[in-house]
């Protein structure tokens, strides 16, 4: 089995995986980071979104071995020891989550947007979230949360 070295949430990790192991499987099953979720088989729902080297990817559509040497950030590591990251705080403040299942992917995707665009319009947020499905919120409050979170981040993660 290949041995993989990468950084996960700031910590250097060495993990034994199979070549076919998906990044999300490595995170959930090998590292016990169950905050990253799986909601579909066709790379559409976005519940599995994490940051790889700072940009959002669907961890269900990336092999763990493709993350060799990369820095992976999951929802568990986003706040980096602080209470809540500004984007997490914005989701709480604006009730941008209900059942919580899509939330980790939604937040990670939003962080990537905010890093590119510190003041996204409602339209820009809605377009950006094409790869993240939510069945609970109707997106109304997610959009508000992402806009507020981006402003709070001030363009830097």
């Amino acid at each position: 089995m290949p041995t993989l070295e990468l950084t996960v949430n700031g910590t250097q990790r060495t993990v034994e995986v199979r070549n076919r192991t998906l990044l999300v499987e490595m995170l959930r099953e090998h590292l016990g980071l169950t905050g990253t979720h799986v909601g579909c088989d066709t790379s559409q729902c976005g519940a599995c979104v994490v940051l790889v080297d700072g940009v959002s990817v669907k961890s269900c559509t990336m092999l763990a071995v493709q993350a060799e040497g990369a820095a992976v950030t999951t929802i568990e590591g986003l706040a980096n020891g602080a209470g809540l990251h500004p984007m997490q705080e914005a989701f709480r403040e604006h009730h941008g989550l209900q059942c919580g299942f899509c939330t980790p992917g939604m937040v990670m995707s939003a962080v990537d947007l905010a890093n590119r665009n510190p003041d996204p319009s409602e339209h820009e947020v809605r377009e950006w979230l094409e790869g993240n499905l939510c069945r609970c919120t109707g997106y109304h409050n997610i959009v508000k949360a992402v806009q507020a979170g981006a402003r709070a981040m001030g363009g830097a993660s």
Binding site: T34, C45, L97, C99, G100, E122, N132, R135, Y139
Partner: protein
């Protein structure tokens, strides 16, 4: 119950207690749980819609690497079938056809997705690989997938015991009176509508993890359920014969339900039984494609309706004839959805004096159909509001005016279809929505759009719901095999903190926050000192779960009753401590006071005394914990007006939803932030039905929509922001005055959207369109109108 909206009490938009764990990845969903020695299961499903099973050869699979067991229907022989929770009687008094539902198919498979075998291995990959080695000899039979196919002359039978594939042929209302109304009508308007099949698609797929402890005989099942106690009842008492004290059901964090996690599913029984056989924990997590084939679907009606009006536009009679597709087996709530959650809704907000509804329910070779957000009420509302809209066009009476002319204004109001509405104010609700939608300025917007080559339209629906289905004695007489009460327990700890146990289940609704607000305000304790526990049959006395917008109205009421009992006992303790008579003790803001004096004791002091009863009333039990069961006196009747405004691109048929304005009466609002969130989600669901979502089958019963690649889920860019208003009247018969909010959007908005689309298309001659109004369907309707 001041409800002043400040701080953390009733009426305040308190931030949710559950959010931090969800936002930091510390939610604990079923698939996140792992037990030592756990095995993994793969459920082998039928690949054909209808077949005799000639034989199953699992020899190769049993020898595959890592495999511990393969079980088929033959192995589970003697285990009970999956039961349904409602018995409906047909017009002629005969009971519905209630076929058996073995957890693993025996003899025949009846839909693509039917459970055929369970393969258990060390890893899920091994289980899946071994499942591919199981050889099933399917001897295909002709299948029926649609209402049209199942009701055709000489159609193949899903069940031999159901001639014509009919499960039941039900009616409600006075047929003779309704027919008479039509005979004397000035106008008769008729409509045919299809309410398409939908897939609920909670983002968390179903999962189950079963365990058995041979040393105690205890079973534990972690499962994605909206109602763990109901699952325990059905699984324990009807399927596996495990008594309640030996069967614990845990529904931990659950990633959305929308009705699809109400039913007791075959997989729950198969997993629990298998864990018992192997004496090892067994875990199964559904993937999305299997979810499309195995989560219960929703809706799937075909209806004809007629409305009789007098010369002034007063509705005088309504006749509805509906055929409903129930799928291959009867799921938990399936029989009641097209009957007692549908037929009795047809008065809507109107004074129609004579209504007759008949519903024929059919079996087909498709996934079982059960409740989906709204369950029956969206189907009724859509049909009624399409018909009323059409009546306005036919009679030439303004569509808002026509609705207003027929509104119920005197309460309580007895409808001709069983329900009695306790309270409402439909005029003000309508006014509020029209103002929010800038209804009066619409024509200018239509002209402006026309100048850009776009067709703009506006549509409205006015509606009522019936939520918190109740009382138990009534639903029992209608065929429910369970009561529909709720339990709540309030445990005041020695230091004054509080744990609340509710039989409802929160899978997004925020009960941990809302119920804490109620208890915090009623007991006068800090919000942070109240913890709400749900979802574990070992911790909660009993419960019926969360569906039908019942949690606050029924579950919240149970908690209120339990708090009342706590206060009553606290008064006795406080009276003793203050050497006063119990009758003289008053309780407010967390303090027991002797009326007219400055003598008082806090709830904390009283709680401590209850657990350290050194100086204590004689004969009174120590402790401060009370449980209440609340059985509602009536349904609740939320009501609203929804307005949608759309623009159609006539070149492509694309419908852009520009704005949605809603005015709703959901009764008492405990947490406005959460209530708004519930409305938003329901609206998205309803808009999805109106414009995007449709589950289709091939004629041979193969699913044509089997993943998110071809089943369109609403995305952020498909929706506008929503404009919400409230016009509150309180429910008169529960302690909170609450009515329910979880299903409002999915019930109210679909006809508003379709009425808007038809309003937009009127200039090009299109008068009818079915949901979903996809680009292709709209474009085709325009072409057809041009051609005719």
């Amino acid at each position: 119950m001041s409800g002043n909206g400040t701080g953390t009490g009733i009426g305040a938009s308190v931030k949710r207690k559950e959010d931090v764990r969800f936002l930091t990845g510390r939610g604990r969903y079923t698939d996140d749980i792992n037990l030592p020695e756990q095995l993994h299961a793969h459920i082998l499903r039928s690949t054909t819609a209808h077949a005799e099973i000639g034989g199953i050869d699992a020899k190769a699979a049993r020898k595959a690497p890592g495999v511990h067991a393969v079980f088929t229907g033959a192995d589970m022989e003697g285990v009970g079938g999956i039961p349904t929770g409602w018995l409906i009687h047909s017009k002629d008094g005969s009971p519905m056809v209630e076929p058996p539902h073995p957890a693993l198919a025996t003899g025949k498979v009846r839909y693509v997705g039917d459970c055929v075998a369970i393969v258990v291995a060390d890893t899920k990959e091994q289980a899946q690989a071994a499942a591919a080695l199981v050889e099933v000899d399917y001897r295909d039979l002709p299948a029926v997938a649609t209402i049209a196919a199942a009701s055709a002359e000489g159609a193949p039978l899903v069940w031999d015991e159901a001639p014509g594939n009919v499960c039941y042929d039900w009616e409600v209302g006075d047929k003779a009176a309704t027919d008479a109304a039509f005979e004397s009508a000035a106008h008769v308007v008729s409509i045919d509508v299809v309410n398409q099949r939908l897939v609920p698609n909670a983002i968390e797929p179903r999962a189950a993890l079963a365990n058995f402890d041979p040393s105690t005989g205890d079973y534990t099942l972690y499962t994605t359920s909206q109602n763990p106690h109901l699952t325990r009842l059905l699984l324990g008492a009807f399927v596996l014969g495990i008594p309640e004290h030996k069967l614990r059901i845990v529904a931990p964090d659950v990633g959305g339900g929308f009705g699809s996690k109400i039913p007791h599913y075959a997989e729950e029984a198969i997993l629990t039984w298998t864990a018992g056989k192997l004496a090892r924990p067994v875990k199964w997590t559904c993937d999305r494609m299997d979810a499309f084939k195995s989560d219960t679907h929703g809706r799937d009606h075909k209806s004809t309706a007629e409305l009789a009006l007098d010369a002034d536009g007063a509705f005088t009679g309504l006749r509805v004839s509906t055929t409903a597709n129930l799928g291959a087996y009867l799921s938990t709530f399936a029989p009641c959805v097209p009957t007692y959650l549908y037929g009795i809704l047809f008065a809507g907000p109107y004074t129609t004096p004579a209504i007759y509804v008949e519903v024929k329910a059919l079996f087909t070779n498709t996934v079982p159909v059960d409740a989906l957000r709204g369950a029956g009420r969206p189907e009724a509302t859509y049909l009624l509001e399409r018909l009323v809209e059409k009546a306005a066009r036919v009679t030439g009476i303004d569509r808002v005016e026509l609705r207003r002319r027929n509104f119920i204004r005197e309460f309580p109001y007895q409808t001709p279809v069983a329900l009695q509405y306790d309270q409402g104010d439909y005029d003000s609700t309508l006014d509020l929505a029209l103002a929010a939608a800038e209804w009066d300025g619409f024509e200018a917007r239509r002209e402006e759009a026309a100048a850009r080559g776009k067709l703009r339209g506006i549509g409205v629906s006015t509606f009522i719901e019936a939520c918190g289905i109740a009382p138990s004695a009534v639903v029992g007489s209608l065929g429910a095999r369970a009561g529909l009460y709720e339990s709540g327990s309030v445990r005041v700890h020695p230091t004054g903190s509080v744990t609340v146990f509710t039989g409802t289940h929160s899978h997004g609704q925020g009960h941990e926050t809302t119920f804490a607000q109620i208890v915090s305000e009623m007991l006068g304790v800090e919000f942070d000192a109240v913890e709400v526990v749900h979802g574990d049959s070992a911790r909660i006395p009993f419960g019926m779960g969360t569906y039908g917008s019942r949690s606050l109205a029924v579950g919240g009421s149970a908690i209120c009753k339990a708090v009342d009992k706590v206060v009553a006992k606290g008064k006795k303790i406080a009276a003793h401590l203050m050497e006063a008579s119990v009758e003289d003790v008053e309780f407010a803001d967390g303090t027991f006071t002797v009326a007219g004096t400055d003598r008082s004791r806090t709830i904390g002091e009283v709680a401590l005394t209850a657990y350290v009863p050194h100086n204590y009333p004689e004969g009174l039990e120590p402790g401060l914990e009370e449980t209440a069961f609340y059985d509602p006196l009536n349904f609740t009747f939320p009501a609203g007006t929804h307005v949608a405004e759309v623009e159609v691109d006539p070149e492509t048929g694309e419908v852009e939803l520009l704005r949605v304005a809603c005015s709703d009466d959901v009764g008492r609002i405990v947490n406005p932030m959460i209530v708004a969130g519930q409305l938003h989600g329901g609206l998205a669901h309803g808009i999805g039905q109106a414009l995007l979502e449709e589950c289709r089958y091939e004629d041979n019963g193969q699913p044509a929509t089997a993943s998110f690649m071809n089943y369109t889920m609403p995305r952020a860019a498909d929706l506008p922001s929503f404009d919400l208003r409230h016009n509150t009247t309180l429910c008169t018969h529960n302690p909170l005055g609450a009515k329910g909010v979880g299903e409002v959007g999915s019930i109210g908005v679909p006809p508003a959207v379709i009425n808007a689309v038809l309003d937009a298309l009127r200039p090009v001659g299109v008068t009818e369109i079915d949901m979903p109004a996809t680009s292709q369907r709209v474009w085709q309707a325009i072409q057809d109108a041009k051609a005719s």
